[in-house]
C-alpha cells in the first residue's frame, strides 16, 4: 500500500518504534526537561496572574503631580462602544484646543471603539483606558465591581454620567406595509422582527427593556408583562450576535418586517444616504449611554485632572451639539433649538432605567436564570 495510505490508516495507532534505549546521560536530560517544563508553567502562571500589568508604561516621571508638569504632553486613552466615534472625532480637537489654551499643555488621544461588552472585558483584562463611554450602565458597573471605577462615578459628572441619550426606533420595510407603530405590534401574529440577542449585545438589552417598559406603561402586571415579552420574542426571525449583524440580516438578507435599533444609528445611516423608513414609538425607553473616568488607570498615569476635564467637557453645549449632529438626543436646552426639534420627534411616555432599579437590578434580567432565560426557554417551541 502507498506511503500515504499506510500513514493514514495508522492514524491514532501505536507506532512500532523501539521505545527503550538505554543511555547514560538520559537521567540528566530528563531532569533538565522537567526543570524546563516547571519554568514554563511558572511563566504561564505568572502571566495569567498579572494580566493588568501589561502594555505601555510610558507615563512621565512627574505623573503624580500633573499640575506641576504642565509643559509636558499628556495622553488620554478613550475607550468607547462603536457608535459615538463620529461625535468623539469632532469633539476631541475642540477639547485639546481648550485644554491647551487654559493649561498650556498638549493633550493627545488614543482611541478605541468596539462592542461595549468586549471593550469592558478588554479594560478588565488590561487595556489601560482613562475614560470610557459605554453603551449600557451595566458595563460601567462591571468596571466598578472589578475595582477600576470608583463607586461614586455617577455623582462626579453632570446628568448621572449619562452623556449620550437616544431612544429605540422601529425600522420597517419601505412604506411600512404592515403598519408597525408600537412595540405591541411586534407581538402580533404574522409579524417578524429582528433584534440582537440580549445575551451577547448591549443594544439588545435596551430592546428588551423597551418591551418591558411598554408592558409596564400599559398597565400589565409582572406575569402578563413576561407573557407579552415572550410573545414578542417568539416573533423574532433572527436573533443575531450584535447590532451590526441584525442590520445586515434585515437590510441585506431581507429577514423580518421590522428591526429595532437605536434612533441615533438610524439617523446616522440616513445621513450617509441610506433610505430608511422608521418610526419612533410613543411609548419608549430612554437609552442612556454613560461616560466615566477609570480611576485606577488615571491614578497610575497621573491623568486624573485632564480625564475629569474631558468628561465634563462632553456635557457642554459645544460637545452636545456634536453628539446631536450624529443623532443623539441633545441634553438640556439644546434640544429646543429649531434644528433639532424637527430631527427628534418628542416621545410621549419616556421610560427611564431607574424605573427598573437601575442597571444593577436590570442586569439580573439577563443573567443565568433571569427573566430572559424564562422567555428563551419558550422560544423555538410553538
Amino acid at each position: 500500500m502507498s506511503r500515504w495510505h499506510s500513514l493514514l490508516s495508522r492514524w491514532g495507532q501505536v507506532p512500532e518504534v523501539p521505545f527503550f534505549r538505554l543511555r547514560l546521560n538520559s537521567l540528566k536530560s530528563f531532569v533538565s526537561m522537567v526543570l524546563l517544563g516547571a519554568t514554563l508553567s511558572l511563566v504561564v502562571a505568572s502571566c495569567s496572574g498579572s494580566n493588568t500589568a501589561s502594555t505601555s508604561s510610558t507615563t512621565p516621571a512627574g505623573g503624580a503631580s500633573p499640575v506641576a508638569a504642565q509643559k509636558q504632553d499628556v495622553e488620554l486613552t478613550l475607550v468607547a462602544y462603536a457608535i459615538p466615534k463620529a461625535a468623539h472625532d469632532a469633539i476631541i480637537p475642540k477639547f485639546a484646543e481648550k485644554w491647551k489654551a487654559e493649561h498650556g499643555q498638549n493633550v493627545t488621544f488614543k482611541q478605541s471603539y468596539g462592542g461595549s461588552g468586549s471593550q469592558t472585558r478588554a479594560i478588565i483584562d488590561g487595556l489601560e483606558a482613562d475614560v470610557v463611554h459605554l453603551a449600557v450602565g451595566a458595563d460601567v458597573e462591571k468596571l466598578v465591581k472589578a475595582g477600576f471605577v470608583n463607586e461614586n462615578w455617577q455623582q462626579r459628572v453632570p446628568n448621572n454620567g449619562i452623556v449620550g441619550e437616544t431612544v429605540a426606533a422601529i425600522i420597517t420595510r419601505e412604506g411600512n406595509p404592515k403598519n408597525i407603530k408600537t412595540f405591541e405590534d411586534l407581538t402580533k401574529d404574522g409579524i417578524k422582527w429582528v433584534t440582537p440577542d440580549p445575551k451577547t449585545s448591549g443594544g439588545a438589552r435596551w430592546n428588551y427593556l423597551a418591551l418591558q417598559n411598554y408592558a409596564k406603561k400599559t398597565g400589565l402586571d409582572d406575569a402578563k408583562a413576561l407573557e407579552f415579552i415572550t410573545k414578542a420574542y417568539k416573533n423574532v426571525a433572527v436573533l443575531t450576535k450584535d447590532a451590526r449583524e441584525s442590520t445586515d440580516a434585515f437590510a441585506k438578507q431581507g429577514q423580518g418586517d421590522a428591526l429595532v435599533n437605536y434612533e441615533n444609528e438610524v439617523i446616522l445611516a440616513k445621513q450617509k444616504g441610506e433610505k430608511l423608513d422608521y418610526v419612533v414609538p410613543d411609548i419608549n425607553i430612554s437609552i442612556d449611554t454613560p461616560v466615566a473616568v477609570v480611576d485606577k488607570n488615571t491614578e497610575k498615569h497621573g491623568t486624573q485632572e485632564v480625564a475629569k476635564a474631558f468628561t465634563e467637557f462632553l456635557f457642554t453645549p459645544e460637545a452636545q451639539r456634536e453628539f446631536a449632529k450624529v443623532g443623539y438626543r441633545p441634553l438640556g436646552d439644546l434640544g429646543k433649538e429649531k434644528e433639532f426639534t424637527a430631527l427628534f420627534p418628542p416621545v410621549k411616555q419616556l421610560g427611564k432605567i431607574d424605573e427598573f432599579g437601575g442597571w444593577k437590578e436590570a442586569q439580573k434580567l439577563f443573567e443565568d436564570g433571569g427573566a430572559f432565560d424564562q422567555v428563551r426557554s419558550q422560544l423555538g417551541r410553538s
Binding site: 501505536v14 521505545f19 527503550f20 504561564v44 450576535k241 443573567e367 422560544l379
Partner: protein, 288 residues
C-alpha cells in the same frame, strides 16, 4: 494515552508508574521533542480548560452541562455536523475522483479552489452563504417558492458546516486515489466484475480509511465552527442555536467557568466520537 500504552504492553510485570517513568527517561529525542511540543500546544491548554471547568463544582457542572438549552445545542451541533460530514464524505470522494481521473480545462484552478474554505475567514464565508441562500439570494430565491428556507434555519447551519469541511475529505482521499493503479480496476473488469462491483469490492475498500479520516476531520471542524454558523443561523434556542454560540454567550456575561463547562462537554463528546471512528477504522483494517 497513546504514548504510555506501548510500555504497558511490553513490561506488564512492573507497576504502571515505574514503567511510565523509565519509559520517559529512556525516550529517544524525537519522542521528547514531540512530547514537549504536544505539552505546550495541546495538553496544557486543554488541561487549563478542564481545570477551569472543574472550579464550578460537580453539582453546578452538571446543572450547566445538562440544562435543557445546553442539551438542545449539543443535539443541533453534533447531529448537524455529523450529517454535514457524511454528505461531504460522498461528494468529497466524487470530487477527488473527478480531479484524479479526468483531465479537463481549468483543472488546476478548480483543484486549487477546493482549499478556499480553509483560507477564507469564516465570517466572510458565513456572510456570503447567508446572502446567497437567503430568500432573495441567488439560490435561496429559487427554493423559496417551494417553501424551503435555508438561511437562518438549521439547514443553513448544515450548509455552512458542509462548506467549511469539504476540503478535508477531498484532500485526504485525493493522494490515496492517485496512488491507486488503474490496472487493478481493469483487472476486475476483465475478470467479469460489473462497474458497481468494481467500485464496491475493488475501489472502495482501500479508500475507506482515507474517507473515514476525512469525514472525522471534517466533523471535528464542523463541531468547532463558529464564525460562519453564527451568521447563517437565526440563533433561536431549541431550533438552530449551536453550542459554540452558547459558549460565546456565557463569555459575554463574564461567566468564564460556565463557558468552559460547555467547552469541556463538547471536547468529551468529540473525543468519544473520534475514538469510535478510530475503532471503525481499525475494524475495517481487518479485511485489508
Amino acid at each position: 494515552m497513546a504514548v504510555s500504552s506501548p510500555s504497558f504492553r511490553r513490561t506488564s510485570s512492573h507497576s504502571p508508574g515505574k514503567v511510565l517513568l523509565t519509559s520517559l527517561i529512556h525516550m529517544p529525542w524525537t519522542w521528547r521533542i514531540m512530547l514537549g511540543y504536544l505539552l505546550v500546544m495541546l495538553i496544557m491548554p486543554v488541561t487549563a480548560m478542564l481545570l477551569r471547568a472543574a472550579t464550578v463544582g460537580p453539582a453546578e457542572f452538571w446543572r450547566i452541562a445538562t440544562s435543557p438549552l445546553a442539551l438542545s445545542t449539543y443535539d443541533v451541533t453534533f447531529t448537524t455536523s455529523l450529517i454535514a460530514a457524511l454528505i461531504d464524505g460522498v461528494f468529497g470522494v466524487l470530487i477527488a475522483w473527478v480531479l484524479v481521473r479526468y483531465d479537463f480545462p481549468l483543472k488546476r484552478f478548480i483543484d486549487a479552489s477546493i482549499d478556499l474554505p480553509f483560507a477564507l475567514p469564516t465570517a466572510v464565508a458565513g456572510l456570503t452563504l447567508a446572502t446567497v441562500y437567503s430568500n432573495n439570494g441567488w439560490i435561496g430565491s429559487l427554493l423559496a417558492p417551494l417553501g424551503i428556507k435555508i438561511a437562518f434555519t438549521r439547514l443553513g447551519v448544515g450548509i455552512a458546516m458542509m462548506f467549511i469541511s469539504l476540503p478535508f475529505v477531498v484532500r485526504t482521499v485525493q493522494p490515496v486515489l492517485m496512488q491507486m493503479e488503474r490496472e487493478i480496476e481493469e483487472a476486475a473488469w476483465s475478470l467479469g466484475a460489473s462497474p458497481l462491483q468494481t467500485f464496491w469490492r475493488v475501489i472502495l475498500p482501500p479508500l475507506f480509511p482515507a474517507i473515514l479520516t476525512g469525514v472525522a476531520l471534517g466533523f471535528s471542524r464542523a463541531v468547532g465552527e463558529y464564525g460562519s454558523t453564527v451568521i447563517i443561523s437565526s440563533n433561536t434556542p431549541f431550533r438552530d442555536l449551536i453550542a459554540p454560540i452558547l459558549i460565546f454567550q456565557r463569555l459575554e456575561q463574564y461567566d468564564y467557568a460556565g463557558a468552559t463547562v460547555i467547552g469541556a462537554v463538547l471536547l468529551l463528546i468529540s473525543l468519544v466520537m473520534l475514538l469510535i471512528i478510530n475503532f471503525i477504522q481499525a475494524w475495517g483494517k481487518q479485511y485489508d
